[in-house]
Symmetry: C2
């Protein structure tokens, strides 16, 4: 295959530019260490909507609207909208696609959906099938709790391994032509790794081996460990990131100083999240607020960004199944217009 490197890496021949991006978050995220960097925040988790689900859809819709505005594009200029979320049947994304009125590919990789959407968008744009796409994912603390664990109204005590689902959405406009300096240049599709963890209150432990698997496959394919400024995972949280770091070290990759997890960046330790952050909105907002500025300013030149997903449902948990996990990755590079990848 002309656009493959090694076992699983897809190589885009031309940069797939991150033309513009935007974030919308809830009040807890606004109060965290990255608070000042988000484009817009909801005053509470409902933001005058009739339900949390409707509020989550608005997170996505606002994020897309701001990203389009910042990129001076209109929705009708999108060749495709790609995204997904944690809700049953990805309805936040479906209703956002309805609001945008453009061709829509719904994707589902749990919290890896942002990166999955980047990879598919990359194939559409570099393959010649699209020029401009919109990518967006979201999560919402209260919708996710009642979707995947217990409704928050029940007041069930959260275990110390639990992560706090981010209320937030990140939207990205990807384009074949742009004056942006940051682009997606490679993609990798992960495979399921399931080591038998079945505790839906300890997703970081469940997801870490899948994240490490994708990172190792990428590194074996590309041999560029030394030139990567950062390796970033989506939402392993405090516990999962330690496990991931250890697996990588066992494989000979000492990531000290270059490995970060979005789930450990969005909240401070004082915000009492227990295991850190999680959710589709975690990697989507932290990439925009923390890592994009590093790439745009030139402080970082190459980042391997890995979305991590736990593919459970309430039904599979109730039926005693373990949690299949996977991680997709993209290489984000600071790049000059016209430069080849």
């Amino acid at each position: 295959m002309k656009k493959r490197i090694g076992k699983a890496t897809m190589k885009f021949e031309e940069p797939v530019y991150i033309h513009s991006f935007a974030t919308v978050v809830g009040p807890k995220e606004k109060a965290g260490p990255l608070g000042e960097r988000f484009d817009y925040s909801f005053k509470d988790n409902l933001h005058e909507e009739a339900s949390w689900e409707k509020a989550e859809q608005k997170l996505q819709q606002y994020a897309m609207e701001i990203a389009l505005e910042k990129g001076e594009k209109s929705a009708s200029g999108l060749d495709c909208y790609l995204g997904g979320d944690l809700l049953n049947q990805i309805t936040a994304s479906n209703f956002t696609a309805r609001a945008l009125g453009v061709p829509y590919l719904g994707l589902y990789g749990a919290c890896s959906t942002l990166v999955e959407s980047f990879v598919v968008s990359g194939c559409l744009i570099d393959g010649g099938f699209a020029e401009v796409t919109g990518v967006c994912t979201s999560s919402h603390h209260d919708t996710a709790e009642r979707q995947l664990r217990y409704p928050t109204e029940m007041g069930v005590q959260r275990g110390m391994t639990c992560q706090w689902t981010v209320t937030g959405s990140g939207a990205y406009i990807l384009a074949k032509h742009s004056s942006s300096k940051v682009a997606i240049t490679r993609g990798i599709v992960g495979k399921i790794v399931d080591l038998g963890i079945s505790d839906n209150m300890d997703m970081g432990t469940a997801m870490a081996p899948g994240a490490a698997d994708t990172i190792i496959t990428y590194l074996e394919d590309n041999h560029d460990f030394e030139t990567l400024d950062y390796i970033v995972t989506g939402d392993l949280g405090y516990i999962g990131q330690d496990i991931c770091r250890k697996i990588l070290l066992n494989k000979g990759y000492d990531v000290k100083g270059k490995y970060l997890d979005c789930g450990a960046l969005i909240y401070s330790r004082q915000q009492d999240t227990h295991g850190g952050a999680s959710g589709c909105g975690c990697s989507a907002t932290v990439l925009a607020a923390y890592f994009m500025p590093l790439l745009e300013s030139g402080q970082a030149k190459k980042i391997l960004f890995v979305g991590t997903g736990a593919l459970l449902s309430p039904t599979t948990v109730q039926q005693g199944e373990s949690i299949p996990c996977l991680a997709h990755g993209v290489l984000l590079e600071r790049i000059k217009e016209g430069e080849k990848c």
Copy 2:
């Protein structure tokens, strides 16, 4: 864009071959008019599994295993597995991906997921990012009823507009190189059409306008109405197909004699399904059992195959939302090895 025609059609430069395919169904489907054409059937809707959900996962897994065997391929030879289903968080697909152990892209377009997976696979293969992919979707009558309406144990009376969700799965191996005579040559990604229908027992009426929209966009892009042998929709059922036919006629396309709906083909009128068939498994099994033989034998040369999806969830229904619908399409052609599209 070099691989776009008109407003929304993606043109594959080389045929994306349907290398092999297989179907697994439940007993009601086996008893229908296409019964003899399916590769394998379950003796009942559980097939000795502990739950309907686990049985649905087995439908997919068996279908993939038979498709791989018929195509003389091994799972490890797949560059990517793509698919989805109607279950909360597409778990039948997630667990099948776990069993296959290959890179996995989860997709969700409700009953349009098969065609969505074809389109994305087409972009991966024609774009140079993959050579062989596995595509599979499934649905199961009992899992879908408890997922989207009422658990069947409740014995709720089904309305006369209700369609019967197919218990079945269709798996397809797509390849850049194959001795197969049938290939996907074009794809079209649909946009959401929502005319305000909110009755989750009348999906055909909800989905028909979206199906017609995609068909009309395709026809306006490609101007090949006269040379199409068939225009096929996925699961509009008896009611939806009449509405779709009427919308097309109003737009000047008299599809008499060339329009068929998979939801009206898999069961006989005597099987008491009310509105016909529906589900991801409907288009996936009927394409394999009814339309692929027509293309393979040369009785048909060009078929526009349109997957139709209703993107509702129990939550959106309970919250009074209408049903956003969309349809994706692929052009299936009988083609000779080496021929350009």
